[in-house]
Symmetry: C2
Subunit: 339 residues, 2 copies
């Protein structure tokens, strides 16, 4: 069975995934901007987002979404959360029956708090859906460094078949049936990464960052489980793995935003300077809202949200976290253990 | 109730913990070497292990273990695993009834595979015991950076009272009843940190390190649970937190050993150059042995053990890990969920 792939969105990660797929199967990359599409097709390089990285020669590029989707046996959504629903609506007229839709986005829909696969289900009921997520910096993968990721789908047979399509000798794809947990983890970790970056900007050390990552993981696990995810997922590649890379890598956009906040810059200033989207800025208020609605204590996300909203300075937010009373480490988590 | 503390061992961490305690209660630090004891007493600085860090003026220092222990209401063991039993035997004649013994060591006893609190129980049955463990780099704590840690004891009342003694405005102490899990996590994480360092030495990127830490945590959780720890402990400060700091900090001895191995140096060469102990070198064969005896798959620890034993080059070990077949992410972990 030959599975032709269409990747929608020619940002850095969409382009990278298309490049990986092209090694295993006929793949077309859709760029919304015809100029970018023409330039990638002509040069074999995405000069806007991934200069200096030659793409697989078999990769096709188009600016015609109907053409990309109409011939595809799997559609991969490489667009950020704020453009996600619009793109799914745009492809609805061209996608064939039974074709699975895989999300690469790490965010929740503003206004509805929906996960991206819920948006897929909303617009395209009946299509199998899933999410590919993990500690995956695009540049490193294109440079040939080893990486691992998770493909989460409720249907194990489809997941295993699709996992083969993404796998190369340097890119390991694990399967997981917990779509909700993997997707929530991918969205929530950006907020904790902003907190880790804030600590850096304030001159904190490795101990502090490790404590923020650990307590942050506990916090996002509590919320993720309240939203229907499984506890173990958050300790896996989609949770811990992605949190670690997003919190520590100099290449991480969310960490960099936090670092600037820690140095006292306002979010408006930072956003004006940043060409690419840091999803955590949009996710923070959504996460705080979800925590309140589900009665889950989220001290780190609350402080990140307050700093982004300009209500509190980063140094004060950090002090508030330290002033909380000590308590048993697993407070609020032990009840999660038995599923 | 005034609780006088004795810290045994004037290495960098023992000295740091004594300095923290001295802020809250009368504390004496025991140095085995009379010259070091006299120098710390005279200068208020541990010039051998922590130069440039002035210690709390109220901290007392002695080279007489009987004097240190005889007046103590809690004894803190700041000696590494290979000298641990000898020191406990040495203090057995001086310790008073009911006095708790807290271990700071992160290793298992060679030959017996015992945890350090098991050694305490062996030599001093009837004394309450516990372990203080977490992402705690001594230099950063002395520099006043924020950090968090875990005090694990089976008796919650004693744990809460002692936690107050260690707590300062920059050092948060959480309590945990899972002594086994906290202690095993502290010992096992050093082996995974060596693997993360090996990846660095081989020029791998942030994705790879994140994957090693995540899969490494899954591996040490499997073994830790087989040995009687609770799964959640491994996702906490004693597990994940300490693993993150040991795997990523430039100051981590175990990470540095791994980095040198990754660059192709032999363990004999590396050890000859290193003044301080990297516990992971000793722990690796013990962990591999425990994994085999308990039927737990430990692919990362196995490869670290093989590199340390000189049986395989780091680059080949790394390749072997990548060549393992892909599989469901939570393979072997789902059974752990319901305690």
């Amino acid at each position: 069975m030959r599975i032709r792939a269409a990747v929608l969105g020619a940002g850095s990660w969409g382009t990278t995934v298309a490049h990986l797929l092209a090694q295993n199967t006929p793949t077309v990359l859709w760029a919304r901007d015809p100029i970018l599409a023409a330039s990638i097709a002509a040069d074999g390089v995405n000069a806007r987002y991934l200069p200096d990285h030659p793409l697989h020669p078999a990769l096709e590029v188009t600016a015609d979404i109907g053409e990309a989707v109409g011939g595809a046996d799997v559609v991969i959504m490489g667009v950020p959360s704020h453009g996600f629903r619009g793109t799914v609506e745009q492809l609805a007229g061209s996608i064939r029956a039974w074709v699975p839709v895989i999300s690469l986005a790490k965010g929740l829909e503003a206004g509805t708090d929906l996960r991206m696969t819920q948006v897929v289900h909303d617009v395209l009921p009946g299509h199998p859906y899933g999410v590919l997520t993990g500690p995956n910096l695009a540049h490193e993968i294109l440079d040939g460094h080893a990486a691992a990721t998770v493909l989460a789908m409720s249907d194990t047979t489809i997941a295993e078949r699709l996992a083969e399509l993404f796998t190369t000798d340097r890119f390991r794809v694990y399967t997981n049936h917990d779509v909700v947990g993997c997707e929530i983890a991918g969205a929530l970790k950006n907020v904790i990464a902003i907190a880790a970056g804030m600590a850096d900007g304030l001159g904190a050390g490795d101990n502090t960052r490790a404590a923020i990552v650990t307590r942050g993981l506990a916090e996002l696990t509590r919320l993720g489980v309240a939203l229907g995810g499984e506890p173990l997922t958050f300790a896996g590649l989609a949770g811990l793995g992605d949190l670690v890379v997003t919190s520590f890598s100099p290449q991480s956009r969310n960490r960099r935003v936090g670092e600037q906040l820690g140095r006292g810059r306002s979010i408006a200033d930072i956003v004006a300077d940043t060409p690419m989207v840091a999803e955590g800025i949009r996710t923070a208020p959504v996460v705080v809202d979800l925590g309140r609605r589900h009665g889950v204590e989220m001290p780190i996300a609350e402080q990140v949200g307050a700093v982004i909203a300009g209500e509190v300075a980063a140094a004060d937010a950090y002090r508030r976290l330290l002033e909380r009373p000590s308590r048993p480490e697993m407070h609020g988590l032990h009840g999660l253990r038995g599923e």
